[in-house]
């Protein structure tokens, strides 16, 4: 009798623990908000990310955009990237890191009074091309730079 009780207790505990783990795991993707561009951000390569975000992969480079990124980053967990766009009517700026599992880092939609400048910190898994996409007056432009990373910043 006693032994049976032990077994019962053990099995219920195990069941509830796994149940909790499953629900926790399942909740994460479901909590994704509708407004967040899931297809673009969870894309596994640059082309899919660009298709999801802008609907195009053929983006010409422009010398009117400047991307400031370090040539060698000591740690990939915090790499400062800044983009300056000298194009008129800059609408949005995106950052992509080619070798990251999910390349699209962030999209900044700028208001009419916001100047074409954004600076932010991103994680870079391993040495990779960093791409900035600028949308100005309905057209897309890009610029890229290679960033060498001494210690990766994803997965620690």
């Amino acid at each position: 009798m006693d032994q049976q009780r032990r077994i019962l207790l053990k099995s219920t505990l195990a069941a509830s623990a796994t149940g909790m783990a499953i629900s926790a795991g399942l909740l994460t993707p479901k909590a994704v908000l509708a407004a967040w561009n899931t297809s673009a951000f969870t894309a596994k390569n640059v082309n899919d990310a660009l298709t999801g975000a802008y609907g195009s992969t053929d983006i010409p480079e422009s010398d009117k955009i400047k991307l400031k990124a370090p040539e060698l980053a000591q740690s990939g967990s915090k790499v400062t990237l800044s983009v300056t766009s000298n194009l008129d009517k800059t609408e949005s700026i995106s950052f992509l890191v080619k070798e990251n599992i999910q390349p699209l880092c962030a999209t900044f939609n700028l208001g009419s009074r916001t100047e074409g400048y954004i600076s932010t910190n991103v994680k870079i898994g391993k040495s990779s091309d960093v791409i900035a996409i600028v949308k100005a007056d309905g057209k897309l432009y890009s610029i890229k730079q290679y960033v060498k990373v001494a210690i990766g910043g994803c997965g620690g």
């Binding site: 926790a24 795991g25 994460t28 909590a31 994704v32 908000l33 407004a35 967040w36 561009n37 951000f41 967990s77 915090k78 790499v79 800044s82 890191v97 990251n100 599992i101 999910q102 699209l104 880092c105 962030a106 999209t107 900044f108 939609n109 700028l110 208001g111 009419s112 009074r113 916001t114 100047e115 400048y117 954004i118 600076s119 932010t120 910190n121 991103v122 994680k123 870079i124 910043g153 994803c154 997965g155 620690g156």
Partner: protein, 113 residues
């Protein structure tokens, strides 16, 4: 979320008509790929949307991914803003947590000559 301290920190600088705003949000930004000491995956926890409003206009509407660094830092430039104006900031993360704040734009204390 009952938090005593705001998750936002801003710092503004003014040059003529253009304000440079630096904003930092306190947030773990977990990628969902890191493991804890026992080898279990730490679930993803990151900010997805960040917006900034000034004088009724949305001046910055941002979508972030897990690959933005811990305690996200964003710097941008805004024209038509002056010292003492209020910035309305708001973020939402993938767990549905959010925080918003209204902060006054103050310039950094200048060094005495």
């Amino acid at each position: 979320m009952a938090k005593s301290k705001s998750t936002f920190k801003i710092r503004s600088r003014f040059k003529g008509d253009v304000a440079t705003i630096q904003c930092q949000i306190t947030h773990p930004m977990e990628t969902g790929m890191r493991k804890d000491k026992k080898g279990n995956l730490i679930p993803a926890h990151f900010i997805q949307k960040f917006t900034c409003e000034h004088a009724g206009d949305v001046v910055l509407d941002t979508e972030l991914n897990t690959s933005v660094s811990k305690n996200p830092y964003i710097k941008f430039k805004l024209s038509g803003a002056k010292e003492g104006d209020t910035l309305k900031l708001h973020w939402v993360d993938n767990k549905g947590n959010s925080d918003s704040a209204e902060l006054e734009m103050k310039s950094r204390r200048r060094k005495k000559k």
